[in-house]
């Protein structure tokens, strides 16, 4: 027993008598309460519903909602990602797969781009660490709610999908 627990009258050990009820008789017959509940339900029939018809309807989400990922592009339309593996390193779910390759020679000032950039959305926990880790601001989270697909393969987003997401 903790030291600062309030002191109460010691219960008689071994007593099995029920404690007296503190509810009044009106309450104990429950009918007014049932009526009250039904009234609330009835009122909500005429109000605007708070639920939405997902997935036909999409919810409005916060600006800071962490939805599906997107790979960003620079002013010239080239992907910003340099395949530094920072996101993959930071990812607690190990859902990011990157394979690097040399950037095309005509991309001035760029050495490396991802040949493969895949995110397994089934593994992803949407923590946003990848966005935090990115030194190039090349990955960000959209406010798209994760989609539903029929096969597991479809949940693996590749580079092109992420770039156009």
């Amino acid at each position: 027993m903790s030291a600062n627990a309030p002191e109460t009258a010691p219960r008689k050990s071994g007593s099995h008598e029920p404690l007296p009820s503190r509810l009044g008789w009106l309450t104990r017959i429950y009918i007014p309460m049932i009526l009250k509940g039904m009234l609330i339900s009835l009122r909500e029939f005429f109000r605007k519903p708070v639920t939405i018809q997902y997935p036909e309807q999409k919810p409005r989400v916060s600006e800071r909602f962490r939805g599906e990922h997107r790979l960003t592009k620079d002013a010239e339309g080239k992907m910003k990602c340099v395949a530094c593996y920072m996101c993959a390193t930071a990812c607690p779910a190990h859902c990011i797969t990157i394979e690097a390759e040399a950037a095309p020679p005509e991309w001035e000032g760029r050495d490396k781009i991802p040949r493969v950039f895949e995110i397994d959305m089934l593994k992803c926990i949407y923590c946003g660490y990848c966005v935090e880790a990115c030194p190039k601001e090349a990955i960000e989270m959209t406010n798209k709610i994760p989609q539903v697909y029929r096969t597991r393969q479809e949940f693996i987003y590749d580079r092109e999908k992420l770039l156009s997401n």
Partner: protein, 262 residues
């Protein structure tokens, strides 16, 4: 020396070289003077001249290239036949003396510092102290040294050169000057050697006599150091950055000596 330079030294120059051999404790220490010798012999120090100097002094040609690019007064192929070096250090630059000389050269030849005329006859550059600080501005033109070289003296001198070359000032003013490129040619970074993949660890199959018994390399012989590989891309810009762009002549661009902050 797999690649033989296209040029050869004249017998006089070789005699001069052999005179020097006794003067120096070793051949390497003759390099400064040998570079002067080949510069005089060929008019400037180009790649062939460096090979010759390296051969004479028994040093690696990469070292000679390091020497030539370290010392700013060696004449390179990019420099004009008449190379104007205008002192731009404080004592000459005070009271606008350097600026005046440069302005005069520009008015006559259309050259800004760091530029050469398209025909390669004239070039102009800013250099650091030429050690005649009491009579600014100091200009060195190749092996000629001039004090207080501004105003009519400079104009007359340039006119004299123009006449000797059979050119006129107007010709140059109408032409677009070229930026002097003193950089060293290097292979671009995306260059791949023969049989090389861009990525991926490969089996090592060249140059090692054991691992390359006729297959792998087409001619069956291992490549040795010194034979330049066939280039897929022309041997020009070191960076995919176009440092030749005149507007780039900002802070310390590659090797454009004196061309800074034009």
């Amino acid at each position: 020396m797999a690649k033989m330079p296209a040029k050869t030294l004249s017998s006089e120059a070789l005699r001069q070289f052999h005179d020097w051999v006794d003067e120096y404790p070793n051949k390497r220490s003759m390099l400064m003077m040998v570079l002067r010798l080949v510069e005089e012999e060929f008019g400037c120090i180009d790649d062939d001249a460096m090979e010759i100097a390296a051969d004479l002094c028994g040093v690696n040609v990469a070292h000679v290239q390091g020497m030539v690019t370290f010392y700013t007064h060696f004449k390179r192929p990019a420099h004009g036949k008449h190379r104007f070096m205008v002192c731009a250090t404080l004592m000459c630059a005070l009271d606008g003396n350097t600026d005046q000389a440069l302005a005069q050269i520009r008015a006559k030849l259309g050259l800004k510092p760091g530029e050469a005329t398209p025909d390669g006859l004239f070039s102009c550059e800013k250099v650091e102290c030429l050690a005649d600080c009491d009579k600014p501005p100091v200009i060195q033109k190749d092996d000629e040294h001039f004090c207080s070289m501004k105003g009519p003296a400079l104009d007359a001198y340039i006119d004299k050169l123009l006449t000797a070359e059979g050119k006129t000032s107007e010709q140059y003013l109408a032409a677009t000057p070229v930026t002097m490129d003193l950089r060293v040619a290097v292979l671009p970074v995306h260059y791949n050697f023969e049989g090389e993949q861009n990525v991926g660890a490969r089996r090592f199959d060249d140059k090692d006599p054991y691992f390359a018994p006729g297959e792998g390399s087409e001619n069956g012989s291992a490549r040795t150091t010194g034979v330049p590989p066939a280039l897929k891309t022309p041997l020009t810009a070191p960076v995919a950055g176009g440092a030749l762009n005149p507007s780039n002549a900002g802070h310390g661009a590659n090797g454009t000596s004196g061309g800074q902050h034009g």
